[in-house]
Amino acid sequence: MDSIGFGAAWLQYALGGITVGAIYALVAIGYNIIYNVTEIINFAQGEFVMLGGLFAVFFHETCGFPMLPAFLAAVAAVALTGLILERYVIRKARHATVLSMIIITIAFSILLKGGAMLVWGRDPYRLPAFSGSGSILWNGVAIQPQALWVLAVSGTIVACLTIFFQRSVYGKAMLACADNPAAARLVGIPVRTMIFLSFMLSAAIGAAAGVAITPITLMEYDRGALLGLKGFGAAVLGGLGQFFGALVAGLLLGLAESFCAGYVSSGYKDAVALVLLLLALFFKPEGLFGSKEAAGLKRF
């Protein structure tokens, strides 16, 4: 038996951690987009990821689309769900308090889960990896090409979003809506469409994450909740509203889980990630990259 040297194990844990971390980062980014424009935490974000995976399975397996069209069709379908959420639910509850907004998004996530269970049933589904299954052996460490795809997808999304929100007019307009919707309206920003766009964008990114991870993790109707929880943890750890923060915090969370599973106890890996999060909340509530003043000013 080729018993691989200790070094490789460390690397293997790191690789596993980065793959999982990239998934959490993508979900966290979804939270940040909506939070940036509306200060709402959309607890149904995990469900967008699940729907992305399942729609991709539907388009690829049942309708026979090749991989890329299935990916785009899934992203479009889930973006439509985001649109429905904003148009018929969030817009109705504009004056809701923070608490009832949390409840509304939780209720909507239960609705999505029930619907997915009806359409796709309760079994797990799988997508073929984007570039062939199996793994490459690189000095004793097995790398799944699909993991690289997940990293690539999250990396490009963070880059595009950072540019979009910092460079483009549309992006700045969206940010303006969060800080002061009234002032944004005064200068002619169609706040409603901005919010509308943010939900569609966040849903689309959630879907992209869902499609990218399904070949690795399989996807089933109730997989969204845990992903949503970890993604929200990463978003808070990285500083609500910070894209770069979300990416780094997601990777940190994934690595922490993987190393804890490897060296401490695999049963407690989720607990370690959450303890990390609680420490961040108690001692640095504005997150690793957030600014204290900005966090303080946000309306709660």
């Binding site: 935490i41 509850a93 209720a107 029930g114 269970m117 929880l229 989720d270 609680l278 108690f282």
Partner: protein, 324 residues
């Protein structure tokens, strides 16, 4: 309390006292007493949560964790160390109070989403510990043969006996909470919810009051846990996971956060919806459950009971104006 208010409460209390006898003869609803025992246990949790969330305005997604700590402490003390259940119950409450205080002090400095996340994180950690510490809690395969409860020697077996025991606890908690709300402490809690800055300036030690009401809700949840343990005599960590914390919050929100009766009726309503009335939908059950919650929170944000109270007040005002 003004007599005008006492009449409906008296009628409600009489109905609740006679409930097992009213239900027994009718074949199709005779098992409602069983459901009411669980509803009563959940009411203990949601009364505490109503004070914390509805009146003091602090969200908590950790109530199922305190419910679980109370249950497991009681189970371990009675099952493994042979304590008398009536001694284990307060012990569980003390443990929960201590844990709530340790978590509450740092967590309640936070607000809104951050507080929700902190309590959510704590709840999930407790669930993981219950799952992993197999030699103490029996882990995921659960803990078996926990002794039942007996009063003055006679073991409580029948559902009716449990119904009265549980709902006596609920009545006591309701009375205690009602008194707290209609006192300087209750006013301080409501002041914290409405304008924290002003409450602090008026001399209300906001931080310590938030923690006190958080500990109070944890103690009630612990008592509920102890009752649940001795009623079901079997525990599995999955009964105390995040989904149950969310259900408790939904019960308070759907019933109505601005009144204790809201928490009570919201709990009974959702317990029956969840366990009874939705069975007929089978596969569609989860979908319908989500739809009901969404409609209630969207169209009746203040909650069903508060909405009914407003209807009553409006109608009474309309009668008054007509009669003048």
């Amino acid at each position: 309390m003004s007599p005008r208010k006492l009449v409906p409460i008296g009628v409600f209390a009489a109905f609740m006292a006679a409930f097992p006898w009213i239900v027994a003869p009718f074949e199709s609803v005779s098992h409602y007493t069983d459901v009411m025992v669980f509803a009563g246990i959940f009411c203990l949790v949601t009364i505490g949560l109503s004070l914390l969330m509805g009146f003091a305005g602090q969200i908590s997604l950790a109530q199922a964790a305190f419910f679980g700590i109370g249950a497991y402490v009681s189970a371990i003390l009675t099952g493994r160390f042979g304590w008398n259940p009536w001694a284990a119950m307060p012990a569980g409450a003390v443990v929960c109070a201590a844990v709530a205080w340790i978590v509450g002090v740092p967590a309640l400095r936070l607000k809104g989403h951050y507080l929700a996340m902190a309590t959510l994180g704590f709840g999930v950690i407790v669930h993981i510990i219950l799952n992993e510490e197999v030699e103490w809690t029996g882990g995921p395969s659960g803990m078996v043969d926990i002794p039942g409860l007996s009063i003055a020697g006679t073991p409580l077996l029948s559902e009716t006996a449990w119904y009265y025991l549980v709902w006596t606890f609920v009545a006591a908690a309701l009375l205690f909470s009602y008194h707290v709300l209609h006192s300087r402490v209750g006013r301080a809690l409501r002041a914290i919810h409405e304008e924290e800055k002003a409450a602090e300036a008026m001399g209300v030690p906001v931080a310590s009051y938030k923690v006190q009401v958080f500990v109070y809700s944890a103690v009630l949840a612990s008592l509920a846990g102890s009752l649940y343990t001795h009623y079901v005599t079997f525990l599995t960590p999955s009964s105390f996971d995040l989904m149950w914390s969310i259900r408790f919050v939904l019960m308070v929100v759907v019933g109505g956060m601005q009144s204790l009766w809201g928490a009570l009726l919201g709990t009974v309503f959702l317990t029956f919806v969840g366990n009874e009335w939705l069975q007929v939908f089978a596969d569609f059950e989860v979908l319908v459950y989500g739809a009901i919650l969404l409609l209630v929170v969207l169209w009746v944000p203040q909650g069903l009971v508060v909405w009914m109270q407003e209807r009553l007040r409006l109608r009474r005002a309309a009668d008054l104006s007509r009669s003048e």
